[in-house]
Symmetry: D2
Subunit: 317 residues, 4 copies
């Protein structure tokens, strides 16, 4: 069994870090039974790592006690089998620090940090991260979360390079800008050319452009698509040097993946799919939050049936 040390997040990280949903009961309480079953589900699908308490994990809606509870529960269930990255984004650097230390003490591999809103220029974005990273210190591996659709903050290639150059603990970029594939290429080309340290790049946006991003040099995916087994297989095929086979498989799932990609309602669709797959007991999203109506549910049913049929046909080639 790997020790905690083995699980520290490094620049070599690759594969699928699943963005874990946080399961609630229909009464809105954290459902620990489902936390366990969902953890097992992800592990069974072969994910390389976990990312917990991110935006899609409804982290801002958890109380501090719930945050600790969920974090500890998942960490215990994972039991060091794969690395766990913990989302620690918060308006206060003190809280970022407190939560990061708690996460590392519980066995996290590293933390993921998105910028606070209202940062505008390159200097402001760099300044925010520099302040937070100084507070955290070099001992905690950090994944930069570049997700302007949610944060409103745009992280330029020079800012990423400067942070990578100045802070050794920055080991990963969660690339989720949209559209943002050129940014990915530029960062990877610069590290390939030896101009900057190479960090791991995992891609988000539900994986909507995963094959293109892998070809541009991504190391894997960090997203929460409700069929993680596809992400795992696609990344494995890329590892085996079989991009065409990878993309063929990816395209079988693309219609449903695109459906789940819808901002807002996407989380409700994802949880409902996980529920239908038996991974969690309730698809409840904390209020205020998206709710599916009859049309949404029937639409999902139809799309899922189509996907199952397509997959069966694909496997039977």
């Amino acid at each position: 069994m790997p020790t905690e040390q083995n699980n520290r997040l490094t620049e070599q990280a690759s594969g699928v870090y699943i963005i874990a949903a946080t399961p609630f009961g229909d009464d809105g309480e954290v459902d620990l039974y489902s936390v366990d079953s969902l953890t097992d589900f992800y592990l069974e699908q072969g994910v390389t790592g976990f990312t917990i308490l991110g935006m899609m994990g409804e982290a801002p809606k958890l109380s501090e006690a719930e945050t600790t509870q969920v974090m500890a529960r998942i960490m215990k269930r994972v039991a060091g089998r794969v690395p766990v990255v913990v989302g620690v984004s918060h308006p206060s650097n003190r809280h970022v620090e407190r939560l990061s230390k708690e996460a590392m003490d519980l066995g996290a591999a590293g933390v993921m940090l998105a910028p606070v809103p209202n940062l505008k220029t390159d200097e402001q974005v760099y300044g925010y991260y520099a302040g937070a990273l100084d507070t955290l210190g070099p001992g905690i591996p950090v994944c930069l979360q570049d997700f302007p659709q949610a944060t409103g903050v745009h992280m330029s290639v020079p800012v990423v390079h400067r942070l990578v150059d100045d802070f050794e603990q920055v080991v990963m970029l969660k690339h989720e800008d949209f559209p943002g594939m050129r940014k990915l290429s530029q960062i990877r080309q610069a590290s390939d050319a030896g101009e900057h340290r190479r960090v791991s790049i995992l891609v988000g946006n539900g994986g909507l452009f995963l094959p293109q991003e892998m070809l541009r040099g991504a190391d894997g995916a960090m997203t929460g698509f409700a069929y993680p087994e596809m992400l795992v297989r696609v990344c494995a095929l890329f590892d085996q040097g079989r991009p065409e086979a990878a993309e063929d498989l990816f395209n079988v799932y693309l219609p449903l993946l695109r459906h789940e990609f819808q901002y807002g309602i996407g989380l409700a669709l994802r949880k409902e799919t996980l529920r239908r797959r038996g991974a969690i007991r309730s698809a409840f999203v904390r209020r205020p939050g998206p709710r599916l109506d009859r049309t949404d549910l029937d639409e999902l049913t139809r799309l899922t049936a189509r996907q199952e049929a397509a997959l069966a046909k694909f496997e039977a080639r």
Copy 2:
């Protein structure tokens, strides 16, 4: 040959209204030769109508003389075979009026109008449209363009209903909110229930959710995907009551469609694809505007080759 009157935009409009690109030479000048060839290309693919001088047609980058020139040229080439809708969005109502009248005089079927930026509440959005529609008068058929990703303005279902109730010339909604499928369902359900006049709903966003939107009651697509023949066939299959066949075909094109869906660079990809298909002579986008680099071009080549292979396989079933 249909008369102009036959081509007036009505609530019964359906099918594919192609968002026409505006072709330039590599020197940035309007390329009238390509305007003609692109018009022919669209007609050959079987589009039901044209929408010209929209945002993806780079309308804000045309001079007034160029606007007139392009409009007249397309109208002449189309020669009444299909209806032409003209984008007339502008900061000044006077200009909206002037351009609309010019368009109708040249034989347009109607006009498409997006709101000015910085409208926030339902009252403000309604107020803007009411002012513009009063200026235009009841004689000019209007398509409301609901595209918050570009305008920053959010149009609620009650605002759409109120505009439909108060202004008979509102005959179409271009539905391009994202995500926005519930809005589409609500508007269609209200018209099906006889609560509000039924207007045509054509969907945008490159057609990313076209099958789902057709099932929710859309009448077709108004978008500019560089393979309009797919949109045409999909809509026809829906008309024939064959949604599964329609979606099977759609999914063959989905990878490339998703690729073109990327905001900003999507226009450059679309023009490059049209160029490669022989529809226009240059993929030039006016400055400032997106430009493709070597990686982008190779990526497009690979995706196009994959699509051709997938299509061949699909047709050979």
Copy 3:
């Protein structure tokens, strides 16, 4: 001495509800000594009420324990002499409910609630508040916070009216839209005409338009200008039917008030002024947050000296 019941927030509320800063030491810890001295300072300046744990109180940067600590400390120090409104805005309705109940149990007069971000249409804004108000129930008096510059959410006059009509516990509007004076007039005219229940309207934006807003029917101010005695005197003069005298006094402070009005850095200027006035021991703002440089400090010194001279001259008329 007024009982707690007497202090429940009602539609009759008027005067100055000071937006209380949250004092920290230079080490970033909550400074309880300064919490007390600041509370005393505000009471000595004659404020009518307190609003604590708002955005300018850096509430999102407090831990849950700190939130309770600060709330309890101020409530104890105020000891029922004036009503205390507690900011309870949060991404989760469960947290809004928990914090509101805690506040009311500790003796709060009511709570203030801003909408979560990303609400766009009238329906969405109404829907958010309706959900939260249903959760809170009719027993907790609520102040709606309309502050689009910070939340990005725009609350229309019809939405305010509908909330006032549907939820009796809505007793106050914090009017902070900018520009937004017409909104204030419309709401007040509608209540004067008996079309909707009259609620208290207190104005924010540092008081930048206080005299104009009082003339349009505001009941007072809810803001945190570091010279609350001016706000108190101005409101009193309006109460006495002396608008010209009120505005003459207001204008003496306007240069500094305008200076403090600057978003972001305004909080640092306000805390520094409170420190210089002896109300708190440190002007520390939690990170990330604005910091004053030498130029800022000197500029504040100069403006303060000018204000003192102007005030002396004004009083000596």
Copy 4:
């Protein structure tokens, strides 16, 4: 009489460049009679220069012919007595170029250029300006307009420096970020230290912080406050080394200036004030645009009367 050459915009520019309103009749047509009278009014108030066809000049609402007409008319009336800067911001660089050349041919001193929307990072902002400046060439003096409240684009200090270093034709910055005084200080300190070429900095935002900005190193104002004589006198007093006297005078006008500072409705208030002062015949703002109601008009009357009284008292000291 100065030749055109003498009027070329340079880094030495200072004083008050008035943002000129564009007068319309009540029917919405350009009112050339009022264009002349307004030009005379500004000249009589002693402005140092003009800035025409900016956002507050409703430039985006003019037709191309009207643009030429207004530009030629003002230029002719000014007759080289003071420099005229022409706003040339536009979605297309071709149009920027065409309009700039037309302006220079008509005798403009230089042009003012704001960035197109949707530029996010430092690279994007620099890239936009570099492209446009390359198109214009070194022969046309340019004022960079930094007005993020209107454009949504944030220009960092390093971007300004880089543009100043790379393009000799950049001779002026219109500083209108809010809050943005630190930016002004940083740019001026860098030029004082000889690190970058010194360009003229004129401030906007209606002049709300003019005295503070002059003390931080601004060279004057570029704004459209309806009492330009105050701006002229304040700048002159600063030139004479009398900052306290300057600010005393400024503060007399501050209540009305703050009132006009309101975004949106501010333009209507400004035009109404100019109308009342006899500078133009109608306060009409083209649709869609702000309109004053009875309350707004009465409020303006009261504030104006108070200002006149305060000014009389001030002058009589």
